[in-house]
């Protein structure tokens, strides 16, 4: 029996604002529990929420980046339920009128064709605290540092048809939101969370089957795997002519299985109503237009531009635009040294290798675009050789010193002075009579070995081209 797979994803993304959504507590990581709290985010009697306008801006940007229609007036509503990590006993969210609706994201389907995934809503809400298991094992403790952090919730229509599509959707979403500087979207750090809804139905049927909700996936891969697992499970049930139970399942990464969490026989009644302590969120047409024009060029457009205007190969453009920070870095380098291909080679090659082995990211990298420009100029003007340049890059990266300083301090200037080199060349010729004979005998390639010897003598600082020329000249001169 062939089944159609129907998947919808609910993604929560933490907005990178300086403060929380309804108070001025810092929105940043801190290791001490319950440090970033105040009467407002703790729900003390008498405390009132006040809206962080910056969060609205980011939510607007996110909605626009996802091609949504923007609600110029939206409201905050209370979603009432009891749980220890919800200090007020309700979550302030947007139930009735979200800030963004009817958006979409285009991804590749399983055959490689372009497919549009509809996004039903994008709305703002506050995060809950975290439950931490007590070290003595006798229960859980609550940490409210995260309570009140601004989130956007992005809900797709059930348009995804496979675990692969789900994973590609998440990757695309991350790229878009990172580029828009809405969030850093790191699932491993919790700034992006994903729940999946999945059901199966006989191929061709118009009726949706019972769906289950999957939670607790900590990576895009886990989302894909949990969905694959669930498809197998549901298929088995349906093949046996039984009904799939509508429930919430918790994914267990280690065992690669799911465990039922609570009966989702009825959707929970959140008794939503508009929060009387907050005023409506009002946006003007001008604000929306401004946010639209301020939307940064998305990855694909940028890659296309790199290919068309900068003449980079498609592969290079792809690698360089993978993250916004890398693309920004690359373009900054061009301001200091305007040869795109050369810069691309060095950024993709040596620099990336150094970043990887140091476990660092391009953001905040000490080897600035200015330094990169300096380095490449020095090579171009033959102040140092390409080989030495690699060494200079390594030292500059690790020490933070500018390339020209490194060259000066370590005396790595390329030796191109003829007279200086002549002496060394003559020394090497004298010390390698057999090789010289071989050369004279017709084995021209031996020159490489002799060049190498000179390079050794100069600890790599000699200009290899000049050395080569000199060797040839002197050998042939003396050969007469």
């Amino acid at each position: 029996m062939a089944y159609e797979i129907v998947i919808g994803l609910e993604v929560h993304v933490e907005l990178q604002t300086a403060s929380k959504l309804f108070c001025s507590c810092p929105n940043s990581f801190v290791s001490e529990a319950n440090k970033h709290t105040c009467p407002v985010c703790l729900g003390f009697p008498g405390a009132l929420p006040r809206l962080n306008r910056e969060a609205v801006k980011r939510a607007l940007t996110a909605s626009l980046a996802l091609n949504c229609q923007i609600a110029l007036t939206s409201y905050f509503d209370r979603k009432n339920y009891f749980y220890p990590d919800m200090p007020k006993g309700y979550q302030i969210s947007q139930f009735f009128e979200p800030i963004g609706r009817y958006g979409h994201l285009d991804i590749e389907d399983d055959r490689g064709d372009l497919k549009r995934i509809r996004i039903g809503r994008v709305h703002m809400e506050e995060d809950a605290g975290k439950l931490v298991h007590s070290p003595s094992g006798d229960g859980a403790m609550v940490d409210y540092n995260r309570a009140g952090v601004p989130l956007v919730e992005i809900v797709t229509e059930p348009d995804l048809c496979s675990p692969g599509e789900a994973r590609r959707y998440l990757e695309k979403l991350k790229a878009v939101l990172q580029y828009a500087r809405v969030s850093d979207c790191k699932m491993e750090e919790g700034s992006l969370r994903c729940d999946a809804n999945i059901s199966l139905r006989p191929a061709g049927s118009k009726v949706l089957g019972n769906k289950t909700e999957l939670k607790n996936m900590n990576s895009f891969k886990a989302v894909e795997q949990s969905l694959e697992h669930e498809i197998k499970r549901q298929r088995k049930i349906l093949d046996n002519n039984e009904q799939v139970l509508s429930q919430t399942l918790r994914w267990n990464e280690e065992s690669g299985t799911t465990i039922a969490m609570r009966g989702k026989l009825q959707a929970q009644d959140y008794r939503c109503f508009t929060d009387p302590e907050l005023t409506p969120v009002c946006l003007t047409d001008e604000e929306v237009e401004r946010a639209k024009t301020a939307l940064p060029e998305m990855a694909e457009e940028r890659a296309l531009r790199f290919v068309k205007e900068l003449g980079l190969p498609v592969y290079d453009a792809g690698v360089l635009t993978a993250t916004r920070d890398l693309a920004d870095y690359f373009e900054s380098c061009l301001k200091h040294f305007n040869n795109p291909k050369t810069v691309s080679n060095w950024v993709m090659g040596e620099l990336t290798a150094l970043l990887n082995s140091a476990g660092q990211e391009i953001k905040g990298c000490r080897f600035s675009p200015k330094f990169m420009g300096e380095l490449l100029e020095m090579i171009d003007e033959k102040v140092i050789s390409g080989k030495i340049a690699k060494d200079v890059l390594d030292k500059s990266f690790k020490s933070g010193k500018a390339p020209h300083e490194v060259v000066k301090d370590e005396g790595l200037l390329q030796i191109s002075d003829q007279s200086e080199l002549e002496t060394l060349v003559k020394k090497v010729i004298a010390g390698n009579p057999d090789s010289v004979e071989s050369y004279r005998g017709g084995k021209k390639k031996v020159i490489g070995f002799l060049v190498g010897q000179v390079m050794q003598e100069t600890k790599g600082k000699a200009n290899p081209q000049v050395v080569n020329e000199l060797l040839v000249k002197i050998i042939e001169e003396n050969g007469k």
Binding site: F44, G89, L278
Partner: protein, 468 residues
């Protein structure tokens, strides 16, 4: 001169001129209040040391050359206001040992103007308008309805004592009037409510009580203003800060509602009619109006109030404060905790409010109530288009019905709750009347009331000044 014979302004003047020290003044007042409290329970907490500390600070400032508008004036605040250094049990076991880590914005403004908080007055369960009922497990105080608001009583007792309370359905204003003092509910957004434990976000706002009009004016002026912790106060930025009122009767037109005479009891009806005639005599222009929406509005008021209260009270879950139960199961823990620590009013509103907001019922009750709310606002605005001020009675029965059940008590609020729904400022004065103006029209109210200070002639036989 005895401290209690002065009004607040005179007291402040004397203290600013250093004729008497704030410390000795406050001491006298506190002794007086202790006596009062022995006779009839008014205070939930009478501050001894803390009050004298504040008074000493005022003295220092005055000696340093500062002139404080409310220097040394004794202020009592309802228990549902947070004041750092004083407990805020708010008549509930949930908050029995709660000491707020911050102070309410309005209180800060008033102490900044020199007022000295001498104590906190009793309120109903969680600050809700409680009814006279058999004492239930959770509520710490039992009191007949009209004393469940201690503030006005305090104001009545000592002429210079000013009271900061909260006004949700208007019982605060009614209590002030019954105690022979003035009560004011400013326009929502005029005074910051940060630090006021509110249950119903739509209707709970600060209110004041004072024995003398001039004192009420200073109280309002000192506490008005933008507070970044309460977004609603942003409205103040486009309103006048300075508080000036015009005393000329011929410039004001007052609206009356003759049809209300039908459901007022004889005493109240009689006084209302006398008021009508008196206003004409003084020289005000009057116009007869009709507003039939009171009953409908009242019911919508309680639907909204119950619904919102059930949500706002969810934060009392025993996790961060007031745990009372032991259980291994989370659901059971919540259940036990709230059952044990919530008083009957809080319980009733939570349970019924939850019902009203549930999926099946939201459309039938809450959504409809919101429509009535909008209608009420519109209709009152239409009334105020036809005149400058509205004069309405405060309650139906001259003496509150002791032992009334909660429905009967709610019915008494049919003349005040709709006004609160419309978001209008209202000034209650002794004798059972209120004057209502358009939003941010408080100065008009005070202008009128000054002219009606001879109202005592008409209503003197009704008010029991100083005794409840």
């Amino acid at each position: 001169m005895k401290a209690t014979e002065l009004n607040a302004l005179k007291a402040a003047e004397a203290i600013n001129n250093q004729e008497v020290s704030a410390t000795s003044f406050v001491e006298e007042i506190i002794d007086y209040c202790k006596e009062l409290d022995n006779k009839k329970k008014i205070f939930s907490h009478l501050a001894d040391e803390k009050a004298l500390e504040q008074a000493a600070a005022v003295d220092q400032k005055v000696q340093g050359g500062f002139n404080l508008p409310l220097a040394g004036v004794p202020l009592v605040i309802a228990d549902n206001y947070a004041f750092k250094g004083m407990p805020a049990a708010i008549a509930s076991r949930t908050l029995q040992n709660y000491h707020p880590p911050f102070s309410a914005a309005a209180v800060e403004k008033l102490t900044g103007a020199g007022a000295v908080v001498i104590g906190k007055t009793i309120v109903g369960d969680m600050g809700l308008d409680t009814v006279a009922e058999k004492d239930k497990e959770g509520s710490l105080f039992k009191a007949p309805l009209y004393l469940a608001k201690g503030g006005a009583a305090a104001a009545a007792a000592g002429g210079c004592i000013l009271s900061l309370e909260s006004d949700s359905s208007g019982i605060t204003r009614q209590t002030a009037s019954r105690n022979g003092v003035f009560g004011l509910r400013p326009t929502p957004g005029r005074v910051s409510r940060f630090g006021l434990n509110l249950c119903c976000g739509s209707f709970d706002y600060p209110g004041f009580a004072a024995a003398h009009l001039g004192d009420l004016a200073v109280l309002l002026q000192a506490s008005t203003g933008y507070d970044e912790r309460d977004v609603m106060t942003a409205a103040n930025r486009i309103q006048r800060d300075k508080f000036v009122y015009d005393n000329n009767p011929s410039r004001l037109k007052i609206g009356f509602f003759p049809s209300y005479l039908d459901f007022l009891d004889a005493e109240v009806a009689d006084t209302y009619e006398k008021m009508h005639l008196l206003c004409r005599k003084i020289g005000f222009k009057t116009v007869d109006l009709k507003l039939g929406i009171l009953q409908e509005s009242l019911r919508a008021f309680y639907v909204i109030s119950y619904a919102e209260t059930s949500s706002t009270l969810s934060r009392f879950d025993g996790i961060r404060f007031g745990s009372a139960a032991e259980s291994d199961d989370l659901e059971e823990y919540y259940f036990k905790t709230r059952r044990l620590t919530f008083g009957s009013e809080a319980c009733r509103r939570s349970i019924i409010g939850t019902y009203l907001l549930s999926d099946e019922n939201y459309g039938r009750y809450y959504k409809k109530a919101l429509k009535v709310l909008n209608n009420t606002r519109r209709l009152f605005a239409e009334m105020l288009d036809k005149c400058d001020l509205l004069l309405m009675p405060l309650y139906k029965s001259a003496s509150p019905i002791a032992g009334a059940d909660f429905i009967q008590t709610y019915e008494e609020n049919c003349l005040t709750a709709p006004v609160n729904m419309a978001g209008l400022p209202s000034l209650a004065f002794p004798g059972g009347f209120q004057v209502i103006a358009e939003p941010f029209g408080e100065e008009k109210l005070l202008a009128l009331a000054e002219n009606l200070s001879i109202v005592e002639e008409v209503t003197g036989s009704n008010s029991e000044k100083g005794e409840v």
